[in-house]
Subunit: 332 residues, 4 copies
């Protein structure tokens, strides 16, 4: 049994130490510490880690952090939504998103050609740049073959980018597959559609890609899920581990509550119903905004694993990938 | 300017009248009335109506209501998630879901072979029945052709069912297309995958299906969106209307808040940024549980439209579809 | 074990019937039905009923409904916050609140002398009218005695009003005590303070009023709590029943969740820890907006109790109280 | 205009630096940074700072942090609920609260004499210790005089305690008044009641205490509000600044949303309607759990103010107050 301890600031306190203190503060701060603890356990136990996030998190500055986590070996499989793919590409080719307000005048924004995602702004121009990038990319893709599983296609994208803050780039570099079960649900899908109109035998094979995610792991391997937000990215990861016997570890972070019966709000209690999770120390659900909580949780995890030498070595070297490769690709 | 009015119960008060009174109660009850008002307007203006819902709502008793709404001509396009497809089929072939508790012992449920969705229970057996149903269905499908757009496939399912409470059945009967942008994200996807393993040229064409939803409507038509919950079903409908010049009317019902920047919590204010919605009277966002709010809103709408003769005539006749047809299908 | 049933609209469906159907829809609609069921049980079991609400609900049109419920014998003790007292008086003396928007321009409202409570507007003028009413009222009060328990004072207010939609009026008429544990936390408190500056021996005795709420009931009586929203009104009722051995029945309706450890979000599970509630059928927590849910729940309750003759007889007669009495009071 | 920046972990990152990075991450992390910025501004502008919190935060480990903030001169007026008073005393006299689970078996806890507040446990024994402490304390108090304003009484309590983690102790030491507008709404109130039964002329004067909070500041002084959670503690501080011309600065942290029209969810936008706040840079509302967010925000503030020498000097000396004084008091 642990006790509530009075928290006091000490000058220069690190983020890691703050999270350690959360353990004894109570309410969601205690749950946040537990989430960190579960992730340390899943890594030490060599579990295959599924990391899932929604597109708004890639709109935010978490994008670079996701990329760093992949680089450091903290994600073995990534599941996300198509908006995340689009925005990762936009940012990789130089577009910048600005910080606005949740209470903007949306009519005015529309007139200025600005799209709002919460308190973040994306210019129409950025979507046009994406389009310019996609057309030659799809041509190249089609030259190689006409039937693509989604994750294969996303790996090609990653290989063609050159931005260490791009999660597609880092995933491609580290051979971490990226899955996106609703690839058409965005501007990306629209360009795929227009391309198929010209090339009728071009096929995006979502069915075989479901096989790919299933084959990423198996019944005998330990499995862990870190699900940020809800939506199909969360569901797809859970489903994939379920069909392989269930996950041993699960951490959910979300603003949704379980009371509406939605996927987004479903807690890790259900993970216990998968039959593999043995006790409460292996699952954690933290309620709150991912942009605040996820860096806190993972900094605590990274500092601890780093001290134990469990982060990927490349982190120290950080060799820049050859810029020429992707430039050539883009022009080819 | 309208005023707050003291609400008082009158014996036998109808649901319609209660919602009318909500207009003057304040907070979300006023927003709920406004949602009803916007839907009446979108119908009278002959807008093409996109109805979107998530799978947990089909787990619930709203399933029959969605079906009735399609029957009555209140939805021209349906967008949902694959869990909704699975559960609609399960229920159509006789499976029953039971009502449990949000605070069930999930380990115990697992041992009993019961899956929990909020306070609803689905037996493993129901998933096995779905599997039994799918195998001959997919064989039949493949005999017809090897490349299917998702909505085409879902129409075939609807035609093969015979349950007036099935939304797939009613949609097929009324030629209302059903879109599901992440068709592999469920047990359904697993069966598609196993089938493709045996029949390598079997293709589910999600790209062409995105063309199908775009072609359901056009720039010149009025368009309305009724989005229940968040997720890709909501996003896909909004995206589809956006690419056709934006919706004139939008009603969102959700438990999510805009503060996290998520799709689920995005409000109809953004609809104004689409540039077509002119004023506040054409959009409404209501915060709360859809199982409580949606029946209230729509009963108010239906009673009003019914008095004006704007509901589909078939409602009065309600001819039973020929049972033999679907039975033959299932056995063929 | 009950099953999910497909809901279908039937022309003219009553609010009572809709709530009956909720029982088999699932998620919060099922909880809402259960809330109704628990209240029917607490009434049939002749429990003393504590009804608690916050001031924003009295800003809304629920005010008249609370009054009607008191009239019908559905509340034996009322607990609320001081804003509710102020607004009940304002409305009783003729002030009207208007319906605005959650997204109003607050700087502009300020310039117009308008105060916003969510999507409701209260004019500065209404506060001035309250002040005009309070000064002679306090003079009269002080003439009677110099030391007042809060509930005694609120009864005097109720007796001096003449508005069947006023909860203070109905409570006074029916001898239902109204408690307000933080009587100074509003404009009302400011006027009490100014009055005390002139009359130093004027005392509002909150301590003796805590005795009054404790003596409203006892260990041997059955007790029920209907808590709308959170705050001290909810806490005070729970505390009072706890000190009398705990409540047998409890229904909470709130938008708050239990995850932050707040009073507002605490569920009825804790009622079980009081040691009197025996099983799940006697408590219910419903998550959502009270303005939508409370009328639904209570209409279902009232229709059922009315058929069994369990509502107070006066409801049928509804004799107008003598207008002269309160007019004389106001002028005296 | 600022831009979204990709966040990347750096070994040993401090909590201050993390919050600085939040500025460019987006969604609530950006709002959290802004909250920190507003508090730095209010302190530099020498505003009188109202700090409000609810009792569950004193159940948690934030209690010690509140005390440290008072010690460092970051709060000039404190407003809270009576549960906070009770638990501060319990902890000061040696009681410990333990950390449990949100999903505890409440019936079992009841049998063990344990009270649950979210995921924190308080033993019945701790309440008995509080009672033992209160009886001689009230006797002493009454010997001095028979009519006490609440804040005067709370100062006496603070002076009688000796625990640097007690906010009542630190407030008394620093002459920071503590207000509690609903002093009877807890076990504390019950003991006041029992004491008054024996001493009928014992009066707790809440009306004069409202004068006390009003006189803490005035129209000419700059005023700032830091409101944690909702309830009457938040409302009382806002009301008090409002009656003195409004606050120049306001930071709210809460899990409640504005959509229900409740006090707890009301945003700082309304602060603009007070007419004193000039622009958006002076107010911030952050949505989330206070136990996670408040330490983050304030660490950032403290590190910055410390570097500028704006924290109270005593912080460095930290002289232990004379233990004898309070021991003598307790025995007297």
């Amino acid at each position: 049994m642990s006790f509530v301890k009075d928290f006091r600031w000490e000058k220069g306190i690190t983020a890691e130490e703050l999270v350690n203190r959360y353990q004894n503060i109570g309410f969601q701060s205690t749950e946040l510490y537990r989430a960190s603890d579960v992730i340390v356990k899943m890594k030490k136990d060599s579990a295959k880690i599924f990391l899932t996030f929604t597109s708004n998190m890639v709109s935010s500055g978490l994008r670079g952090f996701f990329s760093q986590l992949i680089e450091l070996g903290m994600a073995d499989i990534v599941v996300t939504t198509v908006g995340a793919i689009e925005e990762d590409i936009m940012k990789a080719i130089g577009e910048r998103f600005s910080i606005g307000s949740f209470d903007s005048d949306d009519v005015e924004l529309h007139e200025k050609g600005i799209n709002r995602v919460g308190n973040l702004f994306i210019k129409n121009e950025s979507y046009m740049k994406l389009e310019d990038w996609m057309l030659p990319f799809l041509d190249n893709l089609y030259k190689k073959k006409n039937r693509w599983a989604v994750s294969e296609m996303l790996k090609e994208i990653g290989l063609s980018l050159n931005d260490e803050n791009s999660f597609l780039y880092q995933a491609a570099k580290k051979d971490v597959p990226v899955f996106c079960p609703a690839i058409t649900d965005g501007a990306f899908g629209f360009h795929l559609y227009l391309f198929q109109q010209k090339n009728r035998d071009f096929v995006v094979d979502v069915v075989s890609d479901f096989g790919n995610i299933l084959l990423c792991t198996n019944f005998d391997e330990k499995k862990g899920v870190i699900a940020l937000g809800g939506s199909i990215s969360k569901h797809h990861a859970i489903l994939s581990t379920l069909l392989n016997g269930g996950a041993e570890y699960a951490v959910y972070m979300t603003t949704a509550h379980k009371t509406s019966g939605s996927m987004s709000g479903a807690t890790t209690d259900e993970a216990k119903s998968w039959g593999k999770v043995k006790d409460d120390s292996d699952v954690a659900t933290v309620i709150g905004d991912v942009t605040i909580m996820f860096p806190l949780v993972m900094i605590n995890v990274l500092e601890k694993l780093d001290r134990e030498g469990l982060l990927k070595a490349e982190y120290k070297e950080k060799k820049k990938i050859n810029l020429d490769r992707s430039r050539k690709y883009a022009k080819s």
